[in-house]
């Protein structure tokens, strides 16, 4: 496309309408994606502030910065905000909303008004949780274990639980919308096996959302009701069982970690293909591994309860099943690596995040296998080893993928480029800061430092100082994109429809896309990632 066309004033989804109402009442999936982007970014900052306070407290061995009670509230609210208000919605609600219809060549999601509703539901639920925070906080841990959460805790469990319950419906509606859209609204020629892998990941994630989230909802409602009316479902005095809560909770919350990681894996597939100019090695395996993860993910919840009073045989079965669920993840890592091999790799910002993802996710996943081994888990459970493990997955994996996707699609969403050099610096700083923060925690956990304590014996200090130092480096790594991405909105160079020379329907429409995504319904004639055809034509 020549430059003077670009300079012409053009109607797109951002300037089609103006004013607050045009945003708050929009049914355009792209605008709704941006609404989510704004909300979850604020929640991320909030969760980050809690994280910073946790790390500051742990700088010194005695509990000198905050009281034990405050510390309990800090890590609880850090967990709640990061998991339910940032990570779970992040990629589906922002990039999924924005790109699922575009990538299949549709004009919108199947249920646009339901989509808007899901943002409102999310915000209402978020308000409840924020209310719980400002009126004194919650101290149960993000897992709300009974009987503490139903009987002993005097904190704001009700409000937080209600908030999480409500936000759950937002996930359910988004998931439902994606599944229906992918089934019924693909453009002519867009067969299932021509779909970009990001869509397979979104599909699998939506399945988990649709089947898992209701179980969490009913569990959380039971906790609230039990607090209010002494139902007895979890209360041994009435013959109830506190372990039932853990079973129900982890039946959702283990699959929920895949709600957080699968979308990132989808993004990484896009990035690896685009920046190594190759078709993803073993496309069908990668596609089906997403479904396999979604299905197997429901069978392994018991590995969170090895020391909670489970029969040895039960524990053995869950241990074995947990090993099985690692297989499809390993398939993906293997296929990405094979794709990189002999590709013409270029190291632009999104690619650096993708490579960071692969490294960190691999470490997180391998340590997950340690934890799934009964004997080792008994040694390191509830220590910093676990904290390090899930942060490698959730921050090193899910968050890196999110940032990679944000950089990759930013030009499409806004029509502007950001300074790639700064992007690369930010990616490297984040990667280094991340490892400095969380690697020492593996050692701390192995040496026996328990999680969720606000004070610790002096011999653990050196590693904790490293970790806190790393957290500040990582904080800078997150601050930088916030600055240059904002900067790019006004000063960034015009991106053009396809700044990366990437494949995929989203790159065939102008940046930013028009309100109905395409000026003409696209017809798909080739598989996803047909990069080799480009090269053949050039040769």
């Amino acid at each position: 496309m020549d430059t003077d066309t670009l300079a012409l004033p053009r109607t797109h989804y951002l300037n089609a309408e103006f004013g607050l109402a045009s945003w708050l009442l929009t049914t355009d999936h792209k605008r709704i994606g941006l609404l989510f982007l704004g909300s979850i970014s604020m929640f991320f900052v909030l969760g980050g502030i809690f994280a910073g306070m946790i790390r500051l407290e742990l700088l010194t061995p005695p509990g000198d910065l905050v009281s034990d009670d405050t510390y309990n509230k800090l890590f609880t609210m850090h967990g709640i905000v990061m998991i339910f208000m940032f990570l779970i919605p992040s990629i589906p609600s922002v990039m999924g909303n924005f790109f699922v219809p575009i990538m299949i060549g549709a004009r919108d999601l199947a249920f646009p008004r339901l989509n808007l509703l899901s943002w409102y539901i999310f915000m209402i639920g978020g308000c409840f949780t924020l209310y719980a925070i400002v009126t004194g906080g919650v101290d149960t841990g993000w897992t709300f274990y009974t009987p503490f959460s139903t009987m002993a805790s005097t904190s704001n469990v009700m409000a937080a639980a209600v908030g999480i319950f409500i936000m759950g419906f937002s996930s359910i509606l988004t998931g439902l919308n994606f599944i229906v859209t992918i089934h019924t609204m693909r453009a002519p020629g867009m067969t299932w096996f021509r779909m970009p892998l990001f869509l397979w990941a979104m599909y699998a994630t939506s399945l988990i959302n649709v089947l898992g989230t209701p179980v969490l909802a009913i569990t959380i409602v039971s906790v609230a009701l039990e607090r209010a009316f002494h139902l007895g479902i979890f209360d041994p005095a009435y013959g109830g069982d506190p372990l039932l809560f853990q079973h129900l909770f982890w039946f959702y919350s283990h699959p929920a970690v895949y709600i957080m990681i699968l979308p990132s894996m989808g993004i990484v597939s896009e990035l690896i293909a685009a920046f190594s100019r190759k078709n993803i090695f073993g496309y069908t395996f990668v596609a089906f591994s997403s479904l396999a993860i979604a299905v197997f993910g429901f069978l392994v919840w018991g590995h969170h309860m090895f020391v909670a009073g489970m029969s040895v045989y039960g524990a053995m079965i869950f241990s074995v099943l947990s090993f099985l669920v690692a297989v499809p993840s390993a398939v993906k890592v293997f296929n990405w690596t094979a794709t990189l091999y002999k590709g013409s790799v270029s190291y632009q910002t999104p690619m650096l995040y993708a490579l960071g993802f692969i490294g960190l996710f691999t470490i997180g996943g391998l340590t997950g296998l340690f934890l799934a081994s009964l004997g080792i888990d008994v040694h390191v459970t509830d220590t910093y080893f676990v904290v390090a493990h899930f942060h490698y997955i959730m921050v090193g994996g899910a968050l890196m993928g999110y940032l990679g996707g944000l950089h990759y699609w930013w030009p499409k969403m806004t029509g502007r480029m950001y300074p790639d050099l700064w992007g690369r610096v930010a990616a490297v700083v984040t990667f280094l800061g991340f490892n400095l923060t969380f690697f020492p925690q593996f050692i701390l956990g192995y040496l026996g430092m328990p999680r969720r304590y606000h004070a610790y014996p002096p011999e653990f200090q050196a590693l904790n100082v490293l970790s806190t130092a790393g957290a500040s480096v990582m904080g800078i790594g997150y601050l930088m994109p916030a600055i240059y991405l904002f900067w790019s909105l006004k000063y960034g160079p015009i991106a053009g429809p396809n700044p990366w020379g990437a494949k995929g329907l989203e790159w065939t429409t102008p940046s930013p896309p028009p309100t109905f995504n395409f000026d003409e319904t696209p017809v798909v004639t080739e598989p996803a990632y047909a990069y080799d055809t480009v090269e053949k034509k050039l040769a």
Partner: protein
């Protein structure tokens, strides 16, 4: 992209089927696609509902296996006559709902409306009988948390039975109330003559929802009322 096209971004593209039917939403190509999407959406929603109730059902099953004695005692206090009547009322309402959907397919507006009204009346009757049962439980001090008393073995565990009884039937009743709300909207739309032979998807998918709620009851009734009747 030709330059003069740029202003047309707001209009759906011309390749789409002509918007023949006012019921066709802008982002679908045709009514068939729109119908398929709505139906699949409802089935998925019902799948989430199965999981939602599933948590309570599994809790109920586990405790039933653990405490068969208490469960029998507590179950025998429920009014089986009212329960049976309610079951019949609800199955009949499923029938009239199905007839309403059929009438919509053949575009008989009056029939759609009258079958919907009958369905709703039956639904209200169900809720009325259910409230009467709740009132009885209240009078017998069988409501957990409100001066709960129970004569029989292990009264404290009976509390658990009645908790689950109220949670499950309460959730079911809530679904009935939502269903009545949906049916009133459908009734209004039918009255306004919104449905045609080509497009009556809302009647169909609310029918699905109504049948689903009935099916939940078909499981609740034996589990709650008929448990250990023979002893």
């Amino acid at each position: 992209m030709p330059k003069h096209e740029s202003s047309s971004a707001l209009v759906p593209d011309e390749n789409a089927a002509p918007a023949s039917d006012p019921a066709l939403r802008h982002h679908f190509d045709d009514l068939a696609q729109q119908h398929e999407a709505a139906t699949l959406g409802m089935w998925l929603f019902l799948a989430t509902e199965v999981m939602f109730f599933g948590g309570l059902f599994s809790a109920y099953m586990i405790y039933r296996v653990w405490y068969p004695g208490t469960w029998g005692d507590a179950s025998r206090t429920l009014d089986i006559t009212l329960g049976t009547v309610n079951t019949i009322v609800l199955i009949t309402s499923s029938l009239t709902m199905a007839l309403a959907v059929h009438a919509a397919a053949t575009n008989e507006r009056r029939k759609v409306m009258s079958f919907l009204v009958v369905t709703m009346v039956l639904g209200v009757a169900f809720l009325g009988i259910k409230s009467f049962e709740y009132y009885q439980k209240f009078a017998e001090h069988h409501v957990p948390g409100l001066d709960f008393r129970f004569e029989g073995q292990a009264p404290e565990r009976a509390n658990l039975f009645f908790s689950l009884y109220f949670a499950m039937t309460g959730l079911h009743a809530l679904h009935m109330i939502i269903g009545l709300g949906i049916l009133s909207v459908i009734l209004y739309m039918a009255w306004r003559g919104r449905f045609t032979e080509a497009w009556h998807t809302p009647v169909e998918i609310s029918g699905l929802y109504w049948h689903f709620v009935d099916i939940i009851w078909i499981f609740l009734f034996p589990l709650l009322y008929l448990v250990d009747r023979h002893r």
